[in-house]
């Protein structure tokens, strides 16, 4: 039992409550926001040390032994996700100080942001399938409100599609939970992992797995269920786009990884059917997403479609179902959160300088803001998997995993999609950065320095931090790959998780 496990949920809740109490004071809220995120990061780091040294940490809430109460479980995968979520929290906390207007601050931006993080963290930590549903609800209501906050027409349009489709996903999820409960009489995931293999009708277990694939598939925006994402992610303020684009869809991916390695495994499903389907889904998601990105000319829409495409890579790694594949998938998730969020954050700075997100009306950033250009290059080429940046290791692990399984077609598709990713990144580079300065630009363009008056540095410093991390992970990949490998090995050997939760079997 490790009491620290409540902190990743409790700290954001407390922070949100405090921020709500002081919602009249923007200044105070900003401080509370950043401090809350830093406290969260600290707690996660302490917990991380425990998991790293002593293995999976468990907390039985209310001291009710599993499977009767709700269990929080921190394995390496959960910790890596928590870690990246806390880092993004700090980054977004700082970026928001400048990016978010007073009106939004007055109407609960900070409480909503922290509740969102609370939901995300709860999803990572919970060891109970119904509790996961609850955290999804928390995330959904917080994210919907963040999307809609501001009430502009396109925001509401996007937010409505977002909320309807995601509610539908929750409905399917709940139905799946009910079926699982009907078959096993339990909701605790470790207990489910024990009981599902005992269900005689394995076909029914496979069917329920498909229900979860559809539900979490909607959440993580896979083909053909991704519509809500490109419809909504480009509408809110950049800080929100970044946390959504970076973090939120990955919660769906996390849930997929969790249920397809813990619940619907070879032991309970007995064949490769699900992995074949995941492979197809991954392939189509990659291709359709990247083509969507290629067809757009708006900074944030390109990024949004890329999210879809890159989810495909993660699904592919999951479908490989080997240590290498899972390691690649997990590494890909972590790297992608960094690179993708950073690109969104950069789009925000570019928009402040040029007054638009439309690439056709952008230009001159390389000429006047070379440092910003370098930051963009780092993030964009990392996203495309260029060495020696973080994305390279993600790509390399997946390529190696695919080739070692002799799955040539999907690996080939993954490689080609990498080139198309590069293509759509260069589209932004060739116009917004290399293009000539457009005729109509805000008066401050070229004069406003990144560091100095105008306080743009509040936006630039978070971007610098992430870019530094991308380089660090790229140059010194070993410890990060090892952590992902530990996570993958824990996933493949479910007995460790089960014993941690239920005690020796």
């Amino acid at each position: 039992m490790n009491g620290l496990l409540v902190l990743p949920v409790a700290i954001p809740l407390i922070t949100a409550t405090l921020a709500l109490l002081f919602r009249k004071s923007s200044q105070l809220q900003r401080w509370i926001g950043v401090l809350g995120m830093v406290a969260l990061l600290g707690a996660v780091l302490v917990l991380f040390r425990d998991v790293h040294n002593d293995g999976i940490q468990v907390l039985q809430l209310g001291n009710w032994a599993a499977p009767f109460g709700i269990t929080l479980v921190a394995d390496m995968l959960a910790m890596l996700m928590l870690g990246i979520s806390a880092i993004m929290g700090v980054i977004i906390g700082i970026y928001s100080i400048f990016d978010i207007d007073r009106e939004r601050e007055r109407f609960g931006y900070y409480p909503l942001l922290h509740i969102l993080i609370m939901g995300v963290n709860g999803s990572f930590l919970t060891g109970d399938i119904f509790n996961l549903y609850v955290w999804f609800e928390v995330m959904l209501i917080a994210s919907f409100t963040l999307l809609a906050l501001g009430n502009s027409k396109n925001q509401l349009q996007g937010a409505l599609k977002y909320v309807f489709i995601n509610l539908f996903s929750s409905l399917i999820f709940l139905f799946g939970v009910a079926l699982l409960y009907g078959m096993t009489g339990t909701l605790n995931m470790a207990d489910l992992a024990v009981r599902l293999p005992q269900v005689e009708n394995t076909g029914l277990v496979t069917t329920v797995a498909m229900i979860f694939l559809v539900s979490f598939g909607i959440k993580s925006a896979i083909f053909p269920l991704f519509f809500w994402l490109p419809a909504s992610y480009h509408t809110p303020p950049v800080a929100i786009s970044a946390i959504f684009g970076g973090l939120l869809t990955k919660v769906g991916v996390y849930a997929l990884i969790r249920v397809f390695t813990l619940l619907f495994t070879d032991a309970s499903v007995h064949n490769d059917y699900l992995h074949h389907i995941l492979l197809w889904v991954g392939g189509f998601t990659m291709v359709i997403g990247v083509l969507g990105a290629a067809s757009h000319m708006e900074f944030r829409k390109i990024l949004s479609f890329h999210i879809v495409s890159q989810i495909g890579y993660m699904i592919m790694g999951l479908a490989f179902n080997t240590a290498m594949g899972l390691m690649g998938a997990i590494f890909y998730v972590l790297h992608n959160i960094l690179a993708k969020s950073n690109l969104f954050l950069i789009s925000g700075i570019a928009q402040r300088l040029l007054g638009t997100f439309e690439l056709k009306k952008m230009g001159g950033l390389y000429k006047h803001y070379p440092f910003l250009a370098v930051l963009f290059l780092i993030s964009a080429f990392a996203l495309a998997g260029f060495p020696p940046l973080s994305g390279f290791w993600a790509k390399l692990s997946l390529v190696k995993a695919g080739l070692s399984l002799e799955l040539y077609v999907i690996t080939g598709v993954a490689i080609l999609v990498g080139l198309l990713t590069l293509f759509s990144m260069t589209k932004i580079w060739l116009t917004a950065f290399w293009g000539t300065v457009p005729e109509e630009v805000p008066g401050h363009f070229g004069k406003l320095p990144l560091f100095g008056a105008g306080k743009l540095y509040i936006l630039v410093i978070p971007v610098m931090i992430i870019a530094g991390m991308i380089i660090l992970v790229g140059l010194n990949a070993q410890p990060f790959l090892e952590l992902c490998m530990t996570a993958a090995e824990q996933l493949l050997d479910t007995s460790v998780y089960i014993e941690a939760v239920l005690g020796p079997q």
Binding site: W64, T207, A294
Partner: protein, 791 residues
């Protein structure tokens, strides 16, 4: 060696500050870096000459399943490339400081060029397959940045993209090939692979590996039909063209194939593919050079021709071919580097590179002329220059070709005739003849810009006259590395009166004749057709492919992401129906062991009530009020079902929620406009089918699941533990606030946030800037109010 490469990268990154510190002299300061690296590499020369190799390795990632070392391997081949990269690199840094002097981007040039140098050095020194790829990609990246140097010009940007995509796709193929090679052999170090060639060659994946590696090498080294990006890359400033796109980067593919020759080579497939592509490239591009008047374009196509020659030699794989390869690479790097730099100097001083607009520059630019003349003579293969020796051996190798020697030598001679003419054009036209009025008043280039070409050109003479300077020390180790076995030879100018010499004379004569008729030839119709076919053809192919891809992407996105909510929902539902339904039917099958005999009358009645109210909703779908009432009936029926099964508290909650919902919705409805049905009959039928399908599927699933015997151990535990342990008599309450308190807390948060959301959405003032993208799809979107519209 890692230290050297790391040092180059670090200096590259701080070069803008070095430039600031030293101002005009920064070129000289920064040139010390490649020069120092050159000296370092040269210091290994005696060691290599003695037949040794140098191996250094630093682990980068070292895990059970994942091993990548920063391993380096220095033998004859990598040493020669290393010396070319650092040696010419020294001159390029100097040259760049003169060529771009006063340019605001000079520091960016230094930075990118040094980054490139480090990467390129990495490519040729790396031993580990993965680290080769790492540096390989870095050269593509830096090349992209450098080609787009004049980024405000559209064609620079396009050329940069073209180069990045072509070399990028090749690089990705290479990655796959290298990984397959590693899997096939179990070795990830080239040095280990060199002795394991048979394993790879006999492996079932040999052909795949070969094609993938060739894809990487051919795109990088501009083999036909992938050569089109290279002439486009001439949009870069001349120092970049001279360095990347002539002397070094484009030879990465040559290097790779030479390196892999002992591993992948000496098969018939290798001979046909590598030799064939090389031969085709050298023939096609040599004559294309004559269809241009821009000095850089002429040189670019002659570079492609040279690359083709090198690739062809690797394909031939004979001892003579290896010898030729070693000499040819060195001589080409020297004369072509020099010629490019002179072309840049002419452009810089006279304001144009078009040979038709130039003439009589010799008295004005005497040193540049001397360098250009010597280099061109070498390129034309005229004794006593080093280029002559190179060409003689190439001819000898062609004559000894293992397959169709007559064809090979004929094509080689035809191509070389064009190169002789091209050599003449780039020197005689600009420097000799009548003085022509040029856009700028020409004068000699500054020292930084002529010192490099002059030294390179003089070296060409020196090595030609005194070939023993390099043959034993460097050429033999190079040829041996590529051949994969020790070789021994010496070089000399005079080979006796033999067939290659006759062919050389023939080539020279032919070249001079072609030069004399060049003006007419260039303007002739066949030449135009030739140019549009072979130069423009691949470019059009590339652009067509790109446009097609974008078209497909646009069409796909418009179709899928069309902005219509109803389409989205229908797609999701159908996906679920198909995925879940198909799995259910094929994997599990229907489970039907329920008996309905024990169903009570009231249960039948309720079921009928629910179904009827659903029918009412469907029938009166135009009236919102009827729909609400129908939904209400369903909800209250559910409450009754709870009640019948003994869940009185649940039933009560349901009744309360249902009552409130109906009342609230009806109140809201008063303010909402009348619902108008806009769906066509077809889409209504479609919707009905999907809806009924979803309902039926769920019902069948529940029937199947309830057939599994239910283990109520958790409920039983709650019943037992509720009072003694949790001190609560109401089990539901205890579940909510104790057993599963976290769920409740989460739901409380949801409700609180919902309240906040309602408040914010009502009170907050409306945002929205004119720039906001109004729609999400490419097509005008259906707004929330016309959600129903479809088909």
């Amino acid at each position: 060696m890692l230290t050297v490469i790391a040092l180059i990268f670090i200096v590259a990154l701080v070069s803008p500050w070095i430039h600031k510190l030293f101002g005009n002299k920064s070129g000289w300061v920064l040139a010390l870096l490649p020069f120092g690296s050159f000296l370092y590499l040269a210091s290994w020369l005696p060691h290599i000459t003695a037949g040794n190799v140098v191996q250094q390795s630093t682990p980068w990632v070292s895990m059970a399943l994942f091993q990548v070392d920063l391993a380096f391997y220095l033998d004859g081949l990598s040493l020669m490339f290393g010396l070319i990269i650092t040696g010419i690199g020294t001159f390029i840094v100097l040259y760049g400081s003169g060529y771009l002097s006063g340019d605001a981007y000079l520091s960016r040039f230094y930075c990118a060029v040094l980054l490139f140098m480090g990467s390129m050095l990495g490519v040729v020194l790396a031993d580990n397959l993965i680290s080769i790829f790492v540096f390989w990609e870095l050269t593509s990246f830096t090349s992209f940045i450098l080609i787009g140097f004049s980024h405000e010009q559209e064609n620079s940007r396009k050329a940069a993209l073209k180069a990045l995509l072509v070399t990028g796709i090749g690089g990705l193929a290479l990655l796959a090939g290298l990984v397959l090679m590693g899997f096939a052999s179990g070795h990830w170090e080239v040095s280990a692979l060199l002795n394991e060639g048979d394993i790879i060659r006999n492996h079932p994946h040999y052909l795949a590996i070969l094609i993938l590696v060739l894809a990487g090498a051919f795109t990088k080294s501009a083999q036909f039909p992938f050569s089109f990006w290279l002439p486009g890359a001439m949009a870069a400033p001349t120092p970049v063209s001279a360095y990347l796109h002539s002397a070094t980067m484009v030879k990465a593919g040559v290097y790779l194939l030479a390196r892999m020759n002992p591993v992948l080579g000496s098969t018939e497939t290798w001979l046909i593919l590598v030799g064939g592509f090389g031969l085709l490239t050298l023939l096609v591009s040599a004559w294309l050079a004559l269809s241009f008047t821009d000095m850089k374009q002429i040189l670019a196509y002659s570079t492609v021709m040279a690359l083709g020659t090198m690739i062809m030699l690797i394909g031939l794989g004979t001892e003579m071919a290896m010898k030729g390869l070693a000499v040819y690479i060195l001589s080409h790097a020297m004369y072509k580097g020099a010629l490019f730099m002179v072309a840049g100097a002419v452009d810089h001083e006279a304001g144009t590179r078009d040979v038709l607009k130039l003439g009589g520059l010799r008295p004005l630019m005497p040193i540049s002329f001397a360098a250009a003349a010597l280099a061109a003579i070498s390129m034309a293969g005229i004794p006593p220059l080093y280029g002559f020796i190179a060409k003689e051996i190439v001819y000898e190798a062609a004559l000894e070709a293992p397959l169709w020697p007559v064809l090979v030598i004929t094509l080689a001679v035809i191509a070389n005739i064009a190169i002789v003419a091209a050599s003449a054009i780039v020197v005689i036209r600009p420097f000799l003849g009548k003085k022509v009025e040029t856009p700028k008043k020409a004068h000699e280039a500054p020292l930084t810009m002529w010192i490099g070409p002059l030294i390179l050109a003089v070296l060409g003479v020196l090595f030609g006259v005194l070939p023993f300077l390099v043959d034993r020390s460097l050429m033999i180790p190079v040829a041996s590395s590529v051949f994969g076995a020790p070789m021994d030879f010496y070089l000399s100018l005079w080979h006796g009166f033999n067939l290659p010499l006759v062919l050389s004379l023939l080539t020279l004569t032919g070249g001079i004749l072609v030069y004399l008729v060049w003006d007419r030839l260039r303007e002739s119709a066949p030449m135009k057709v030739y140019q549009s076919g072979f130069a423009m053809g691949p470019i059009n192919g590339y652009e067509g492919l790109l446009a097609g891809l974008l078209g497909l992407a646009g069409w796909q996105t418009r179709t899928i992401q069309n902005g219509l909510m109803s389409n989205y929902l229908i797609t999701i539902l159908v996906t679920m129906l198909v995925a879940v339904g198909y799995t259910f039917i094929t994997r599990s099958g229907l489970v039907w062991n329920h008996s309905f005999e024990n169903m009570l009358l009231q249960e039948w009645a309720l079921s009928i009530a629910i179904l009827t109210s659903l029918g009412i909703i469907l029938a009166f779908r135009n009236s919102r009020l009827t729909m609400v009432i129908g939904a209400g009936v369903v909800g209250f029926s559910l409450a009754l079902i709870y009640l019948m099964h003994g869940a009185a508290d649940l039933a009560m909650t349901q009744v309360l929620v249902e009552t409130l919902t109906v009342i609230l919705v009806v109140l809201v409805l008063i303010h909402v406009p009348k619902l108008i049905e806009v769906r066509s009959t077809t889409s209504r039928i479609r919707d009905a089918v999907v809806a009924v399908g979803a309902g039926v599927l769920m019902t069948l699933l529940i029937l199947a699941v309830t057939a599994v015997p239910f283990d109520a151990f958790i409920s039983e535990y709650y019943a037992e533990a509720s009072y003694p342990l949790a001190h609560g008599r109401n089990i539901v309450n205890v579940i909510l606030v104790d057993f599963r308190a976290l769920d409740t807390m989460g739901e409380v948060v949801v409700v609180a946030i919902a309240g906040l959301a309602v408040y914010a959405l009502i009170k907050m003032k409306r945002f929205g800037s004119p720039d906001d993208p109004e729609t999400e799809g490419a097509a005008p979107d259906g707004t929330a109010s016309k959600q129903g519209k479809s088909s």
